[in-house]
Symmetry: C2
């Protein structure tokens, strides 16, 4: 009789495949096979094993499985933090996509490590998970090298990797910015300012370029002072807007690099006693959920963050299934969502 000589009724402690093996009179490798869906197992055996596993309340020990070289059925998602809505939406999308798989997700927030996220990556390729989704605006290239070196499946979200060796899911940042700017122009604005994101961030650059191209294409002279750099967080939008409003030749419309900075702009504008959109139009980028609860509701460029998360999962799982598949890049469309924060420019 085994150590576990209790009356085979309810588990008194951890149930392992060995327990199942004994109970169902097979070797534990067979149990392992059944549990892993191995084809060539007699059906009756399979049933029996499955039944006892169930009866005993077996829960696989992921660590052991992973240690022994199996898979974890976990995918990791690395994010800087949860404080900006943008990330939350992507995570939500990923989570949604995972429901339909038999994978679970674990989320790691790295913001406290400023560039040391590679620590995480290291533990990841130590097989804490089967694949990685990276949502990290400012990427320290060390990662990618590690990941490649280990041939570890991963996908970059909204982020560029010049080497072309990464799976990437992003959206049409340039086009979205172009459209946003054109929208403002079509409304009659010409004095259009842009609050840009940090230059280290690819999407910020793309959006700035989109803005510039739209202006140029419509033969509107560029005013360098109309471009001010923020950091994608709300306070920077506030400060940027203050500068803009201080100008003698104050802009009549602002295209913020993302919604958060647009909210900052709202504050600054309101504080000056100006009205949106009567006195000044504001358009954002992202369409985070808060865009709907601010007043007036924010006109913005929608990128389906949730969809990005979903697609990222899809790509990642495919990569895991088929490690040989060459990396792909999927770019999702953006779209201007008209709400209440912009209106036609009259007079002047």
């Amino acid at each position: 009789m085994s150590i576990n000589n209790n009356s085979s009724h309810k588990q008194s402690h951890k149930v392992t495949i060995v327990d199942i093996a004994e109970e169902s009179g097979v070797s534990y490798s067979t149990v392992s096979r059944v549990l892993n869906g191995y084809e060539f197992v007699k059906d009756s055996t399979r049933q029996r094993v499955l039944a006892t596993a169930d009866r005993l309340g077996y829960v696989a020990n992921i660590q052991a499985r992973s240690l022994a070289g199996g898979k974890t059925n976990i995918i990791g998602i690395l994010v800087p933090g949860l404080d900006n809505g943008y990330i939350g939406e992507i995570v939500r999308g990923a989570d949604l996509a995972l429901v339909q798989s038999n994978y679970n997700m674990v989320l790691y927030t790295t913001h406290r490590f400023e560039g040391k996220e590679s620590i995480y990556v290291k533990s990841f390729y130590n097989h804490l998970c089967d694949g990685l989704i990276l949502v990290i605006p400012i990427m320290h290239s060390t990662y990618l090298d590690l990941l490649h070196q280990e041939q570890f499946p991963y996908v970059l979200v909204d982020q560029n990797d010049k080497t072309g060796a990464s799976n990437i899911v992003d959206s049409t940042n340039w086009q979205g910015a172009y459209d946003a700017t054109s929208y403002l122009i079509k409304l009659g604005h010409r004095k259009i300012a842009h609050i840009s994101g940090l230059s280290e961030i690819g999407s910020a650059l793309d959006r700035r370029d989109g803005y510039l191209s739209a202006m140029t294409d419509h033969n509107i002279p560029l005013n360098p002072d109309y471009i001010v750099v923020g950091d994608f967080y709300q306070p920077s939008g506030y400060e940027a807007t203050e500068k803009l409003l201080d100008m003698v030749d104050r802009p009549t419309a602002i295209f913020a690099g993302n919604d958060l900075m647009a909210f900052g702009a709202y504050e600054a504008i309101r504080q000056r006693g100006l009205r949106i959109p009567e006195d000044i139009s504001v358009i954002g980028f992202d369409n985070i959920p808060q865009a709907l609860i601010v007043y007036p509701k924010l006109t913005t460029v929608r990128q389906s963050l949730e969809q990005m998360g979903r697609v990222a999962v899809k790509v990642l799982l495919e990569q895991i299934e088929n490690p040989e598949r060459p990396p792909r890049r999927i770019t999702l469309a953006t779209q201007v969502v008209e709400r209440d924060s912009c209106r036609a420019y009259i007079g002047g």
Copy 2:
């Protein structure tokens, strides 16, 4: 010469304690001791081992460590989802507190499992982490039994466990609601409605009771129709408010069970062409970050969500250090934050 016969320079593959042992000429048990901070190791040995570990770029394999009975230095945090700001703040607080420890956090979202979160709990007590923070409004008692059975360290956030056997961090829900309601009363309101949360949720109940007590204490007759039940999400606040506004004897103030539902109320009120706070006052509960970006800024009851997260971590770590310590309950104070969504009731 070992398998790993590369020129002991940069790792060509995973570095294990065996590698370190060979490089520094000690047994791998000694390496393990050093790495775990065991006291009785000769100092020179310790230095040498540490140095080579560093040079080789060693990263501990958490899985193996855990399997062998060691600790993971990971604490898990179980949340329903990330879509309501409330959770995000708690997570942020927990994350913040963890910076100062040498623990890492992994976050599991369970919303897709509706009550099956016990799956997670099971894998947790399988030592995927050293302790658990549970932020799950509707608790299916199965958890707690499992957790107790395994003597697994955990703390409940904003949630009650009648057995008194759990660590709990929560805030003064009753008092906060009482204060909010009293605040409205002091402003001259008497027709005060309350949008409550689901009755399955302890904090929702406490808030409702606080509201009732305040009304009673001020001798204001209770109107059952003034209490409508939502689910803590924005749409339910919208619908609840529609009902309220349809009443012939329409309330002049609304105390929403949380900020999200208050935002729903905003929408409904605005849609009716009414103004906040001129026509109707609104007060929320939670003080999530969005309370500041809505217009008008939401008057609400602050509970320091971030602090709750921080305290939860503190309690949990202490519990992990000292498993014998009896469970504690820490209740944080709440406070009415006056902003722009309430004003004195005049006339009527």
